[in-house]
Symmetry: C2
Subunit: 340 residues, 2 copies
């Protein structure tokens, strides 16, 4: 080969390596840090380790990861009546309410997931039988015994609730935040989680605790259109964290980190199963609403502030456009000054 | 000359022209538009012409521009007792209160301005003798007859107040906003005015109606330090409007446009004189506080909203840092969504 040929070859190879390294560095930038759970437990006494998401490896979760086949679950809780989210799109959206609730047996639910055509997506989130109580696996009978979180991991938190979640693969849960810390445990299948820093809340078009973007952030195509509709979200997206959980992985999601999830396809099943445990920090105990069932009722002082805001907005609405915008911005600046 | 010599010369001249054009385009970018007052009166029926500052030329302002020498003013109102702002810096700052008030005769005030050493700056803003009434030139005797605004220009506004302002040259008035529209008339000397769009209120560190930056924006040096202390203000500065008023010029400052002024040196006097007329738009009449003396009391619905905000902030203060910042940003986003 001539010298120029070598040069072209070397240059091409160099470019390929550069593109590979650049892509890898971009992926790394968004990656949730990973730590062994035992080491994290030791660091947890320092509150700062509770400020960011963390993928915990090697957590012993009990028998569930081995046992929870469809056959097993049908046998134990097949006859239990449950309320299921059902939708003809995989991108669930709480604001647009693009799903319905349907009551069915757990057995019927599992069978429908496995047999359903491409266009139907189902999602189950366990609730307490008494609607005013937080979810606990105990209400699902003996499967509760199959899921065990190490006591050391839960200390010194107070467990708020434990939730079983079963979704058709492909199903995307809308972007939302919770007021409780959260151990999200992947039991079967794979789960993608995208997370945002609490400081990005003002770029995520959240009303209540859900985003007007639904789960559209997880669509592979159509981001140009999304940024047109939600222009501030693009910057938040560039700062997101991402992780893919495999069976047995546990993700620590700190309270107030907005997140959305995608049940990824995996071999042998058209459903994904996870359990999550919501936690309250003892030092925040007095701030939590005792009536909070879903782990998303605002902290008590924030409820008061929210009520105040609900009075302020109509008062500002009484102003003509220029002074309205002026005072809105002036008051926003006061809030942002307190945030920083 | 050799060819290379010509090339260097041509290139240098070209660079100079480019720098000149670039500087001129930058100055233009910040310039307040200018219009004859008669044409503006005709356009005024369309409310949109009241949305931006405008330099009005050729406004007949009465005899004041010719008559108001120190000798004349001393003769007519020399014995009147007035309250004067006095400071050892020319950059007045309402938040830092770097000035004092002193009572003196108008004559004494004028003489002190003309004789005072470099390090003392004086500023007078006329008030009504009854402190609960808005300023009117009538309380200063017959000089009131020397200042006349064309009736056509004032229609259909309601005149809120007319204020005489006399300042040592060099004196800079702190950045603030008014809730009334304003005709600022330069009677003697030259006056630099820097204005910001109401949408930049959230970048100007305003509390009440005054900025924590005082008048430091007008310092020729020290901007690097200023942007360190007030990082958001830099972007607002890049979008400012500027104008230099000469004797006889009238600047229309719409309500809610934050502004600061500098009394520029001019020949023959160490003082600058202006009169401004604050106006209320008839369609906003019910929004103005009847107790507003200084043209800076918030519009009534904004007063209510401000009271609400004063309750919200301590409620948010009860939260730990992360949820506090989170809810502050979330509520700021609601306000900003209403602003847009």
């Amino acid at each position: 080969m001539e010298r120029s040929g070598w040069l072209v070859l070397t240059a091409s190879a160099g470019s390929l390596i550069l593109v590979f390294l650049w892509k890898r560095s971009r992926e790394r930038r968004h990656r949730v840090p990973c730590e062994s759970w035992a080491r994290w437990v030791m660091a947890k006494t320092d509150g700062s380790s509770l400020q960011a998401p963390l993928l915990l490896t090697g957590v012993p979760l009990g028998e569930c990861t081995d046992r929870w086949s469809d056959t097993y679950l049908e046998r134990i809780i097949g006859e239990t009546k449950i309320s299921v989210h059902i939708s003809n799109t995989r991108f669930l959206d709480f604001a647009a309410k693009n799903f319905k609730y349907e009551i069915m047996t757990f057995q019927g639910f599992l069978r429908r997931i496995q047999s359903s055509s491409e266009g139907t997506f189902l999602y189950y989130r366990s609730q307490h039988q008494k609607r005013n109580k937080a979810s606990s696996l105990d209400t699902l009978g003996s499967i509760a015994d199959d899921f065990v979180m190490p006591r050391l991991l839960l200390d010194p938190f107070r467990v708020h609730s434990t939730v079983l979640r079963v979704a058709s693969t492909g199903l995307c849960m809308w972007l939302h935040y919770d007021v409780c810390d959260n151990f999200l445990c992947c039991i079967r299948g794979r789960k993608r989680v995208v997370l945002f820093h609490p400081n990005d809340i003002d770029r995520l078009y959240v009303s209540g605790s859900s985003s007007a973007m639904g789960s559209r952030l997880l669509q592979k195509r159509g981001q140009t259109q999304l940024w047109k509709e939600f222009p501030l979200a693009s910057a938040a997206w560039s700062r997101r964290l991402e992780v893919v959980l495999n069976a047995g992985d546990v993700l620590f999601i700190p309270s107030f980190w907005p997140h959305c999830t995608e049940a990824l396809p995996s071999k042998g099943s058209r459903s994904s199963i996870s359990v999550n445990t919501f936690l309250q920090r003892p030092e925040w105990a007095s701030l939590h609403d005792p009536k909070d069932v879903w782990a998303n009722r605002e902290l008590l002082p924030a409820q008061e502030a929210t009520k105040g805001m609900e009075k302020i907005l109509p008062q500002l609405q009484e102003l003509p456009p220029v002074p309205r915008a002026f005072y809105c911005r002036k008051m926003a600046a006061e809030l942002l000054a307190m945030a920083n």
